[in-house]
Each structure stands twice: as C-alpha cells, then as structure tokens.
C-alpha cells in the first residue's frame, strides 16, 4: 500500500517535471513569433531620422559633383560632374560652333564613336542630342540647351521611366556613400551614350566548383 502511494507520488513529480520542461520548450518557440516583422518597423518609420546624416566619417558631396536641377523625395541631390571626364571638352576648341572643315576630321577625332543608339535600322542622328549651334552643349527635343553635367535631362526625355527610377533610387547608383548628401552617378557614367546597351563580356571572376 505504502509502496503504491510512493510510486504515485513519483509519477506526480515526473508529470510536473515533464510539464515544466514542456513549458520551457514552448518558451523557446514563442520567442520567434513575438518579434515585430521588419515590414512593420519600416511602416512605423515615417519621419526622416535627424542624426542619420551626421555620420562623422561621411564627407560633403565630392568636389567634382554638381547639384541636380531637380529634387528627389528627400530634397536636393547632387550628380557627378561629367564635363572634365570628356577628353576633348571644350568642343568649341575645334568646332568653333560649326562643322570642322578638315579632311577626314570625323575619322580622326571621333573614329572611336560607333553609333548604336536607337533602333537597329534607324539610329539617332548626332544632332538629336548635340546642339548644332553651340557644340559645348547638348540639346533637348524642344531645342533648349542642356549642360553636359546635366545629361540626365537629355536621356530622361525618352527614358522617362528610367529617369523616374533614377531620381527615386531604383535605377543608377550613389557614389561611395549610402549616407550623407546624396550624390549620384550621371547616366553616362555607366552607359556609353553612343551605345548605351551594356556589352557582353566575361565575368570578372567565377564561383569555385563546389563538387569535383
């Protein structure tokens, strides 16, 4: 009789131990679901963090950039200055605002340019983008001068969807820093304006064979 009671007691102890351990186990599980999802955290963040911009290591926009003639959702931004990267700028040095009258001038000065912009059988003409009157400028479809540093204004006339994404941040890229003054690469930093499609090439590296 006594023995029976004893083992009964033991069973109770075991049962309560079991349930205790199970509870702890559930504790380990709950942790996962109790967490706020990242989408909720994003939704909750509606105002621009004030001190986010002030990371001491982030410089002001690099000297060779220029303020864009438009703004993005966060206000003003900067773009990379292009003019000094154009080898033969100023164009007026040769052109004097008209056609250069030298034999084979096109081959000598611009032989490297292959026009692959536009449909295959209907490429764009030089004058579509370059200002006929003032060679130091580009021209819009409406005939307005566009500075080489603001080439995005020109490209955006046709590629307005890409321009929209570029302003917002889904197309193109920032220079070096995610924080600080927003400075973007110009369209022509990545796209050759005369052949804007990316060329086929070999990848820079490769992934090792993970099996022999």
């Amino acid at each position: 009789m006594k023995k029976n009671r004893n083992s009964e007691k033991m069973m109770k102890v075991c049962l309560s131990l079991t349930s205790l351990i199970l509870l702890l186990f559930l504790g380990a599980c709950r942790e996962h679901t109790g967490h706020d999802g990242v989408t909720d955290r994003i939704k909750a963040a509606e105002t621009k963090p004030s001190d986010q911009i002030q990371i001491d290591s982030v410089p002001l926009p690099p000297a060779k950039s220029i303020r864009a003639q438009m703004s993005y959702q966060g206000g003003l931004f900067w773009v990379e200055a292009r003019k000094e990267k154009i080898g033969r700028f100023q164009c007026s040095q040769c052109h004097g605002n008209q056609l250069a009258r030298i034999d084979q001038a096109v081959e000598l000065a611009h032989g490297d340019i292959v026009n692959r912009h536009g449909a295959e059988n209907k490429r764009l003409a030089c004058k579509t983008c370059h200002d006929d009157q003032d060679r130091n400028f580009l021209t819009s479809a409406a005939g307005e001068k566009i500075d080489f540093d603001h080439g995005y204004q020109l490209c955006g006339q046709c590629h307005f969807r890409q321009k929209q994404d570029w302003i917002g941040g889904a197309h193109g890229k920032r220079i070096g820093y995610w924080a600080g003054k927003r400075t973007l690469l110009n369209c022509t930093a990545c796209h050759n304006p005369h052949a804007p499609k990316f060329a086929k090439r070999w990848p820079t590296t490769f992934s090792p064979p993970l099996n022999q």
Binding site: G37, I55, Y72, Q162, R174, L185, C190, W202, P203
Partner: protein, 320 residues
C-alpha cells in the same frame, strides 16, 4: 646582426606572394634554421621576445569574453592586442574598429533582377574587401544564372563562366540576407552570432566554437566555415577592419557577409554595391523614408527569397 638582415632579404623579394598562411609556416621554418646555425643571439627583429609576446597576447586573447559583454575598455584592449598580433605575425599595420551602430539606422538591401548582367564584379570586390580565404575560394556573394520562366534559385547555374549576359537568362545574387528572425541566431549554442541594432547579423569569431549548427539552420546558405587556416595574400589585405567584420578569421570558426560593417557603419556602401557596374544593388537605411531602399520597396513589386519560412530577410529582389 648584418647577416641576419641579409638572410631576411629573400623574404622582401617575395613580398607580393606573402600570405596569411605562408607567413606562419615560413616563420617556423626560419626559426629552426636560425636556431640550427646558432644565430639566435641577434634575433630577427621579432625573435624570441616576439614569440614570448605573441604567446602572452594569445593567452590573454584566449580568456576574453563575448564581444557583446565587453566594456569599452575591454574592447580597446582586445583590439590593441589583435593589432599587435597582426604586426608580429605578418609585419602589417591593421586598424580594427569597434565602431558602434548609428542610431535610427536599419540596413536593407534590394537587388534588381532585371538589371544584373552577371559580371560578378561584386563577388571579386567582396573577396578583396572582406579578406576571404583564397585557397578554398570562399565567396559570400554568389550569382546564379536563371532561365526565363523560372524563379527557383535551385534551377539556376551558380558556376557559369562564359560571356554574359546570355540571351533568355537573368541573374540573381544571393548572400546573407540578414534576417530579422534569423534561424542561425536561434541555433547558436553560445550566442556567438547575433543581430546588431542596425540589423546586421554578425559573428564573434573569437567566441564561435565551430559547431556549425547555424550553418545547418540557414535556409539561404549564407554562412561559410573556415575548414583550414584562411589564406589571404598580404599584399591584397584590406587593413581597415572591423572587429565584427573583415578582420582576419582563424581556422575552425564561422564567417559570413556583414553588409561590410567596416564600411557601412562609416556611411559607405558595401563593397558589392559599390562595385556593381549596372546599379543593380540598392543599399540604405530602411528607417529613412526618403532612402533609395524605401523608394524601391514603395514603388516596385518586390519579393524575398523563401519568404514562407518566416525568416523576415532584409534583402529584397525587384525588377524594373
């Protein structure tokens, strides 16, 4: 003294070929050679005293605690020990930062699958920036070539090496997705891996015991293990390092993408995003409603890999 300098000279000539791995083995070779010819007295700049100092530093390093529990003084002490050890072992000056997360910052990443052309500049930049082992060709970032009509990464080819882009194919990059509910963190028995306040999932390389349970728990194959002593050419070593980032790992510990913590905490872009020639990689602060990443999330249709697993990754895919 002079003869010793001379005998050290061949080392200089092969400077470009020196690596973290060979530095150790050559050192021990030199030591025996020097001892054998009885030139011990002069020492080789960092002779016996260097060895003793190294042992002392390693001893102190062995008993240090988990990074998260260190006081600022302890952090400073371990960093100076690690920098000194790098100096003794590789004769290199490295700077190991312990920069804290920036307030009100939660890092997020978006990858444009209609822009990526598969050039793999990101992979090469990552290997260089993060001092990844060259011998086993460790890579944090991988690019898969997928056929149009499928979105399943397992059907992709992660080992392509041909001219890219290939017609009727698209490219998808994978790396650690820095999940908010990361299974790897939950798995680790020693709390050697955790999510920082800015959302980066990091590993304390000196606290990890190398059980590899996190590796089994990761549904994205985001983690890499050091099966042997990592081999990094010293000439290519990135010396600007972070304790939780690209500092040199040891054998037998886990490592992974840290969103280039050594760069991003300073406001810079991660190496992969910086290197991308097509602008397919968008990185920024998820808590800043004006950021590029937030623009993508708002204006593009995005998806996350294996979202059904509830891991809540901070890495989205989108298309134009």
């Amino acid at each position: 003294m002079m003869s010793c300098r001379k005998s050290c000279n061949p080392e200089k000539q092969t400077e470009s070929k020196r690596s973290t791995e060979s530095a150790c083995s050559r050192r021990s070779f030199l030591k025996t050679a020097v001892a054998g010819t009885g030139l011990l007295a002069g020492g080789c700049g960092s002779g016996m005293s260097g060895t003793a100092e190294k042992m002392h530093l390693n001893w102190q390093e062995y008993f240090k605690g988990n990074y998260r529990l260190m006081t600022p003084t302890e952090k400073e002490a371990t960093v100076s020990r690690l920098e000194r050890l790098a100096k003794i072992k590789y004769k290199l000056d490295v700077q190991i930062s312990t920069r804290e997360p920036v307030q009100q910052v939660l890092f997020g990443y978006a990858f444009n699958i209609s822009r990526c052309e598969g050039y793999m500049d990101c992979v090469a930049a990552c290997v260089k920036e993060n001092n990844l082992d060259r011998k086993s060709q460790t890579q944090y970032v991988r690019i898969f070539e997928l056929e149009h009509g499928r979105m399943d990464i397992a059907s992709g080819n992660g080992k392509y090496f041909h001219e890219v882009p290939v017609a009727d194919h698209f490219y998808m990059g994978v790396q650690c997705f820095h999940c908010e509910s990361a299974p790897c963190i939950k798995a680790c028995p020693t709390k050697a891996t955790w999510r920082e306040p800015d959302g980066i999932v990091v590993v304390d390389y000196d606290w990890c015991i190398g059980c590899r349970y996190c590796m089994a728990a990761c549904p994205y194959w985001g983690r890499r293990f050091n099966w042997h002593d990592p081999d990094v050419p010293l000439g290519e070593l990135t010396r600007k390092q972070h304790y939780l980032g690209n500092r040199l790992r040891r054998r037998g510990v886990m490592e992974k993408c840290t969103f280039c913590i050594q760069r991003t905490r300073e406001g810079r872009l991660p190496a992969c995003a910086d290197a991308c020639p097509t602008g397919s990689r968008v990185f920024g602060n998820l808590l800043d409603p004006d950021s590029e990443i937030r623009y993508v999330l708002k204006h593009k249709k995005v998806f996350r890999m294996k979202e059904e697993l509830g891991t809540d990754p901070k890495f989205w895919y989108f298309s134009d």
